[in-house]
Symmetry: C2
Subunit: 239 residues, 2 copies
């Protein structure tokens, strides 16, 4: 059978038999999810789109993944593998701490929608745990008591995640900060004297500069603030 004739019906290879396409697999699902998220943003990570990318139907994914929530947690942890952790214990701890947090921020910021995802998911996969372990080490080097370091690591990662989420949002909608600045410019001195006076300062500075300043605020505050007494009641910690 000479099959050079272009008009002859092409032999339709069953989609299932194409060796190029990896068979369905938890790994492949997570990889496709992260890929879609990176390329299309928050709305790209849906079970239906992941399924389409893998040449199947959404229902088929449920064999490998319990729900969209679980897939999101897996995608987040896979992305967090890219966070650069300090290899050796060299140089000032503050610099290394800055570097880890900046890397974390960047990983979240580079994938639109990933930060929002991190806000609603506790990262306890292998990558998340590695970051946690590294941060605990750095906070120990900083001189924090172990129990304080435990609370501090939460504070510091929550801050970085929130900043990434806020900024990713602005970017995804296109408005960087312009509309806010315009609102602030319209604020009357009579009703809101402080906002009026500070209207420029409120939106000043680059995201990067403000983030690193905030990290220093956190570090300096942590060094200056002891844990509250482990009293049974919920009292205000002593200043």
């Amino acid at each position: 059978v000479s099959s050079k004739n272009p008009f002859e019906p092409r032999e339709v290879v069953g989609r299932r038999n194409r060796p190029a396409k990896a068979p369905l697999d938890r790994e492949a699902i997570v990889a496709a999810g992260l890929d879609l998220l990176t390329r299309e943003g928050a709305s790209g990570l849906s079970l239906r789109k992941v399924a389409t990318a893998l040449d199947t139907g959404a229902a088929s994914l449920y064999v490998y993944v319990e729900s969209l929530d679980e897939l999101e947690a897996l995608v987040l942890d896979r992305a967090l593998a890219d966070v650069a952790l300090p290899a050796r214990r060299r140089g000032p701890w503050r610099q290394r701490l800055h570097a880890v947090l900046r890397s974390y921020l960047e990983v979240l910021y580079q994938r639109p929608g990933l930060a929002a995802l991190a806000m609603r998911t506790v990262a306890v996969g292998p990558s998340g745990l590695a970051i946690l372990e590294a941060l605990l080490g750095l906070l120990d080097e900083a001189g924090l008591a172990p129990a304080a370091a435990a609370w501090a690591v939460d504070l510091v990662t929550l801050h970085a995640t929130a900043v990434a989420a806020e900024q990713s949002n602005w970017r995804e909608r296109g408005d960087v900060l312009g509309p806010v600045a315009r609102v602030l410019d319209g604020i009357s001195h009579e009703t809101h004297p402080r906002i009026h006076a500070l209207r420029a300062d409120l939106v000043s500075g680059s995201g990067q500069g403000r983030f690193l300043w905030a990290v220093d605020v956190l570090i300096n505050g942590l060094l200056a603030t002891p844990l509250p007494e482990p009293d049974a009641s919920d009292e205000v910690p002593a200043p």
Copy 2:
């Protein structure tokens, strides 16, 4: 016509003519939205559900509201009207600052889904501006330079919002912190010595206690950290 007979067909009042139901109106739409959000959580605030609550179709809302995004911003600001701001300038500023932030946290925390909404919306409505103005005053009392107060107010509200979002999330899913604690308990001392050692401290303390401690960390850090030089480049601020 004696209409006491219960079997007589009730006179069906045209839905449009019932005086009990307020006519469509931006105010009514926002009120219905906040009501749904409060009672049903994040998934309660949808254009279709608001429309059903107001006895109309989703399309009708577009006369009064540009999009779901705009409705969300309006609902957020209306909810923020409940935040308690200090009436007079009495008592230590730190206590009043704690009180404002705790009230803000509570308002967000009491309406499931509102915190997540606040994470993706800049609150520049009347209520949001009133809170901003009050916080700027308190940070001025604390002794911060005006420009520092401008950045600080952002840092402090972002933190409170993020904490509310994180905790609302846990509550909405039912798992308070148990699953995380179980994961941490399974962490090996060999691979993650610090996480293993601190597995109890990482999840210890009440949300309230941790929040107030974190606020003090922020305040103390702000008092100890000057703004970076307004250099053109994005340098790390001096510690």
